[in-house]
Symmetry: C2
Amino acid sequence: MSKKVINHPSDAVQETIDGFVMANKHSYKKLENHTGIVCKNLKDKVGVLVGGGSGHEPLFLGLIGEGLADGVALGNLFAAPTPDTITEVAKTIHADQGVIFVYGNYSGDVLNFDMAAELLEMEGIKVETVRVSDDIASAPAEKKEERRGIAGDMFVIKIAGAAAEKGMPLDEVVRVTKKANENTFSMGVALSPGTIPGETEPNFILEEDEIELGLGIHGEPGVEKKKMMPADELVNIMAERILEESTVTKGSEVCVLVNGLGSTTLMELLIVNKRVGEVLAEKGITIYAMDANSYCTTQEMAGFSITLFQLDEELKDLYDVPAIAPYYKKL
Amino acid sequence: MSKKVINHPSDAVQETIDGFVMANKHSYKKLENHTGIVCKNLKDKVGVLVGGGSGHEPLFLGLIGEGLADGVALGNLFAAPTPDTITEVAKTIHADQGVIFVYGNYSGDVLNFDMAAELLEMEGIKVETVRVSDDIASAPAEKKEERRGIAGDMFVIKIAGAAAEKGMPLDEVVRVTKKANENTFSMGVALSPGTIPGETEPNFILEEDEIELGLGIHGEPGVEKKKMMPADELVNIMAERILEESTVTKGSEVCVLVNGLGSTTLMELLIVNKRVGEVLAEKGITIYAMDANSYCTTQEMAGFSITLFQLDEELKDLYDVPAIAPYYKKL
């Protein structure tokens, strides 16, 4: 038996949902017979539905709440939610103003969310989709639509939630959410792997002194292996690449997220955050807000990602809309 | 070089503080020449000072803020803060109503905080101390004052901060904080060790299929080694021991904290939380609030602790006072 604190692996997702709803029973309820959770206090506004595979907690279940998403559809470990689950969550949160799906750009998710959208359209529920594609290491800039979604989910979901909260109509919520995604740029580095509950082997292998830039949150191959190096050097390299691949430049204003992938400590994330702040200051880039936390994880994988979210006045106003969820707050 | 994302180990604590203050610069400032952080917006009330060794983040630096502590004194990795640092933090937050020290009951901390208290008394600043001693595995019930402090810090600091925020005088803040400590009972389990930045060896050793009940957050020996087992069985054993060693009984009302020690995932913590909730319900114990998060960590150590905080009307009122810090919220 691996040292995961679980019961049977096939029950892990359902028990995670049960534990989450038990801890937050005044605010959320789970759907019967589906791995979905919805807010109890639904408002008359565009519905925001997020989701994806389990195993990356607190993403996505920790992101439903005030000023954020209204419901989450969860798949099994590293697997997309079923069309059925997505459809049920959408119907539950729908308030006659349509629903926006916001999720990471992975083929399994695309397939199932698109199928759910078709089913919902047949029932007269208008659905629009924004796929998060912030990982600059996963495809070149000219193929942004092929990039994967990683910790940048946080900003894109935050903006979708804020736009809906402000009462924007569906097409406007979609417009600003797409803009948020276009303005979000991340890169990660892996130091050591995680293991999915029930598996006996980790999801990738790295040598004792080796790290991999751009390695994905399911173990997708990265762009370059390197020897372990001091934090500042590593941040310099990653920040340089993010700036090259993004529209962020001197005079830009950004929010920064340093996201831990699992077992990388908050101490390390804060040390990284310090250097990110220094690099941006050196480049004449203004920092509006910074956050260092482990939001988008891959089990006990070690490593982190850096995300820059480029602001304009509209996105800044939306970023400032309060958001409260069990594992996120913007007050 | 170990795979810690740091620069030089001797700079890790200072750089952590810099990264923290940079991310939260509107609310906090660091002290010059000391590893201490204070709130910028100090109020005319009893000062609440927390602290301890670094390496357990977000404890303690993540716990300064509204309705919580006013300042934190940090030591080096797993080492007590110096009397000098404690004294400087205390002087900065002191508003002529005295200061309460709240910290975990470890000999190094006791020595240095007591020395600081003497120095401050000589300068006319009234200091009182409450040492958190929630770890039931660290000493028998009749020697509660010898028990160590672990994740129960969260509740005891929460109550001290709330009492000060409400304008209670020092002796009253001390009374309710002591009561909070007397009503807080935790037990932990270790699955795999962490490594201190700069060290090459982990802080303890466990076999591949072995876990240790009651192992401390610095690797202090626990009470019993066991084979790895399913989550529910493990929770049953731990909850039973906590209930035996505590005053919590049928009809009691409690807050629950399932605290991750580092690399144990939120998925696992929520699965544990579910079973804790079920066990308490079976025993006729009322749950007022539940939280599953990694607040008191030991680097990338795997494992968790369960804390029960027994409420009475006064403690419940204080628990309900809003508290906001970078890594904690109670709204």
